[in-house]
């Protein structure tokens, strides 16, 4: 088990956003997060707006913003089809806030418009969340590591 890894490919219409081996993948499913480890059962799932985390074989985690898509898992291969994938540090939260305000200000009538508005709000909120998380995320300083309580 320990020597098994996942082959991950994240593809968009404009090319591959990530390709490589990974220890685990956490993807934003439409109803919550889903994690995949090696030997996962074959699955096809719909993804929503949220954060995609790929833990590489060197234990470093890469964060992406993902705006919906589909994930397919089989034979330790994780394939994610998405229309837009942005590395988390590149997510612009100012723009996302504007998007959210826009969505909140629009008056939606009918099911289609309501759905579209909800999607825009979800998208904007996910972007803001990821941008903020990505700003506060950093490597711990040497002092912090030293001052960590020893268990």
């Amino acid at each position: 088990m320990a020597d098994r890894t996942l082959t991950v490919s994240v593809v968009t219409p404009e090319g591959a956003a990530y390709e490589g081996q990974a220890l685990s993948v956490v993807a934003p499913a439409f109803d919550g997060e889903m994690a995949f480890y090696p030997m996962h059962a074959p699955l096809v799932g719909v993804l929503g707006y949220g954060e995609l985390r790929v833990t590489r074989t060197d234990n470093q985690t890469e964060h992406f913003y993902l705006a919906g898509g589909v994930v397919q898992v089989a034979n330790d291969e994780v394939t994610i089809l998405a229309e837009s994938v942005v590395p988390a540090p590149d997510v612009d939260d100012g723009e996302a806030r504007k998007m959210l305000d826009d969505a909140l200000a629009t008056q939606a009538v009918g099911e289609i418009e309501l759905d579209a508005r909800q999607a825009q709000m979800d998208d904007a909120r996910a972007r803001i969340r990821i941008a903020e998380r990505s700003k506060t995320r950093r490597e711990p300083t040497a002092r912090e590591i030293l001052e960590q309580p020893v268990e």
């Binding site: 499913a29 719909v46 229309e83």
Partner: protein, 288 residues
């Protein structure tokens, strides 16, 4: 015979034209490489999506409905024509324009209303010249179409399709088959063909989250967007290839003409000298 000086001037001006066309050839070749890479980059996504739709269709047992699959009696159709903003690329733009005109006639012959959406300045002028009404025109998509730009167009069309304003959507563009073969084609975008539920190679017993039908409902609009995006990418690659060929031919023709003109110049110069010499000799002989 023309004056040698005039011939030389012509050869010179053709030389500078050749320089320009040669530069355009080189630029088109470089742009072609980039456009080609982008078209190739989209391929894994297309393949995966098609495969996944096939898998899901077989899992759903070929028994599902979706608004995008529904064939409704056609009252209004929409046609997207894709060409370039720039000329000097051989028959590229006129091929697209001719096919748009032909398709328009065919669609109208069925007694169907038609809206034409045109992308590219050249196509817009050509269609206006042929007196075809254009409902929407775009000129902002250049040789590097991004998914977002194209998506904005597709989104609006799908929305109108969803509201029942249009029943059929076609796209006319230049399909890139190989570096030496591109042809203008007219493809139907909507309604989608029902994906065949045939047994595709995969034997995995997938879990579906949520159900296969719902995933399919999520994927079908994506495949429409992709179809249109792919059309724009193909058009961009074809444009650069067409320009590359046109400019190569132009440069070759210019060099050929320069060769002929140089020969003509030398010959006429010689004739002139011969004439002058015989005049001098004739003059001298008359003096004796």
């Amino acid at each position: 015979m023309a004056k040698p000086r005039a011939i030389l001037n012509r050869a010179k001006s053709i030389g500078s034209i050749a320089k320009i066309t040669d530069t355009m050839y080189k630029i088109a070749a470089a742009k072609f490489k980039r456009a080609f890479d982008r078209a190739v980059a989209a391929r894994p996504y297309t393949d995966k999506l098609t495969q996944l739709i096939g898998d899901l269709a077989s899992a759903a047992g070929g028994d599902f409905d979706h608004p995008l699959l529904e064939v409704r009696p056609t009252k209004t159709a929409l046609l997207i024509g894709i060409s370039s903003n720039r000329g000097l690329c051989g028959g590229y733009n006129s091929n697209v324009a001719n096919l748009v005109v032909k398709s328009c006639e065919e669609i109208k012959a069925r007694g169907v209303d038609l809206h034409v959406v045109a992308s590219g300045k050249r196509l817009i002028t050509m269609l206006k010249h042929k007196q075809i009404e254009i409902a929407h025109e775009f000129t902002h998509i250049e040789d590097r179409p991004t998914f977002e730009e194209v998506d904005a167009i597709t989104d609006e069309i799908m929305e109108r399709y969803g509201r029942g304003e249009i029943e059929e959507v076609f796209v006319v563009y230049t399909k890139f088959e190989s570096a030496s073969r591109q042809s203008a084609v007219c493809e139907k975008v909507l309604p989608l063909e029902t994906p065949s539920a045939e047994e595709s190679g995969s034997s995995h017993n997938y879990m579906f989250h949520p159900s296969a039908e719902e995933i399919l409902a999520d994927l079908l609009p994506r495949s429409v967007r992709l179809h249109v995006f792919q059309a724009f990418l193909d058009a961009a690659v074809s444009e650069q290839t067409a320009r590359r060929m046109a400019m190569k031919n132009a440069t070759d023709a210019a060099n050929e003409i320069i060769k002929d003109l140089t020969m003509l110049y030398n010959r006429s110069r010689q004739t002139q000298i011969t004439t002058e010499l015989s005049e001098i000799i004739g003059g001298a002989a008359a003096l004796e």
